[in-house]
Subunit: 222 residues, 2 copies
DNA sequence: CACTCATGTTGACGATGTCAACATCCCGGC
DNA sequence: GCCGGGATGTTGACATCGTCAACATGAGTG
């Protein structure tokens, strides 16, 4: 439903003045609402995020929201979608910082990029794996974004298996193992459960775990 | 919509009669509210669980809840506490089914018991790791119950390290690695992300992963 | 220039978490 | 045995929330 064209708006506000209708009534409410939501998520956890509050932040009446989103869950889905895009970007970015990496090493790097994103945007990440946010086919864009993130992992695992750097097990199984680990680490961190004096920072844990796991599996392979 | 059969209230009401003053007006409202909440969690996810709804289910007025819980979060904390107790019990039970298990094997069994519980009580489990349910020192009973569950893991890891069946790494690090994996697997399953035709059931995954991980780490050890 | 459709507003409804004031009734001390 | 106090439960109210229906406005097209 609806086009969902407007993706961006980096506009320098005044600078682009007369260009493409920038002022209907509000400008770009949809974007403003999502931004307000992201800001709110960054400060407080989710749960403390109300449609009316977002409308207020955008300087607009409560029901204006419904011109852009069917309901609250719809808004949340849009935000979660952006979250997965950010997650993919974080992994990609990390990969590009180390171009010559081997198959297995690339997998580890992906894991680090994954955890990086999750701990940099805790509330956002939590929302992405919220109530039943995914799995629900209700939001194709969400599903696609999530599938893309996961696909990066799968690809890396698959490559590593082919290269003989992982045990010859079914790719989905190894991917799930890997995902579980990285997801669990991110969640525990964001729940504050890893803030212990006898533990290194989560970034470092992510690195160490990756190495350990990869090496262990690699060794175990034959 | 409003069936809410009001599940239980085990006590034979009359039978325990004179025992510790347990009957003022309702009998044991606190217990009844928690039971109602558990029933509601089992059916619908959390989020759809209102104090007023619980009061209704218990056949009591909305504000009666506040005679037993300071607020909603307080109730949720009590429920989460019971969750951790159930989690510990599930792990313990599983251990006792295989008394002669070696150190490393015991760790794997713990993991299976953990995942068992999590997938048997999805909404409850999610609540246990909710907003900031733990980590908050606000609820000592919760913290204690959670610490006990985690302590079981730590003990098993520690034993396995001592027995030379795990790499000689700091126990907290290995425990966290293990916990991350098992927690992540549980979460992904409960989010419906593991319901794929190319994956075995989560129970089986849990078993396979445990074996794989344990063996890989064991092999890697020297 | 008029029409139309997207956008935004007002007002309302039912539900929720929570508070303050009031009612009830079990229990231990006289 | 009575009685007063404190634990328990109730009524009524408030602010907030998600959402709906009816209405207003204004941008861009014919």
């Amino acid at each position: 439903m609806s086009a969902y064209v407007n993706v961006v708006n980096i506009n320098g506000v005044g600078t682009v003045s007369a260009v493409q209708g920038e002022n209907y009534h509000h400008g770009d409410l949809r974007r403003a609402l999502i931004d307000a939501a992201l800001a709110a998520l960054a400060e407080n956890g989710p749960g403390t995020l109300s449609l009316r509050g977002l409308a207020r932040a955008a300087g607009v009446s409560a029901t204006a929201v419904y011109r852009h989103f069917a309901n609250k869950e719809d808004l949340l889905a849009a935000i979660a979608t952006e979250g997965f895009e950010g997650l993919s970007a974080s992994m990609q970015q990390r990969l590009e910082r180390e171009p010559g990496a081997g198959r297995l090493r690339r997998l580890v790097i992906l894991g680090e990029g994954y955890v990086d994103y999750a701990i940099a945007h805790p509330a956002h990440y939590r929302l992405m794996f919220g109530p039943r946010m995914l799995a629900r086919g209700e939001y194709p864009a969400l599903a696609a974004a999530a599938a893309h993130s996961y696909g990066m992992l799968e690809q890396a695992v698959s490559d590593a298996i082919t290269a003989g750097e992982l045990p010859a097990m079914p790719e989905p199984v190894l991917s799930t193992l890997f995902w579980s680990w990285v997801h669990g680490l991110a969640m525990l961190n964001n729940d504050g459960l890893l803030a212990r004096s006898d533990l290194p920072g989560t970034n470092e844990l992510s690195h160490d775990f990756g190495e350990l796991l990869a090496n262990a599996l690699n060794q175990f392979r034959e």
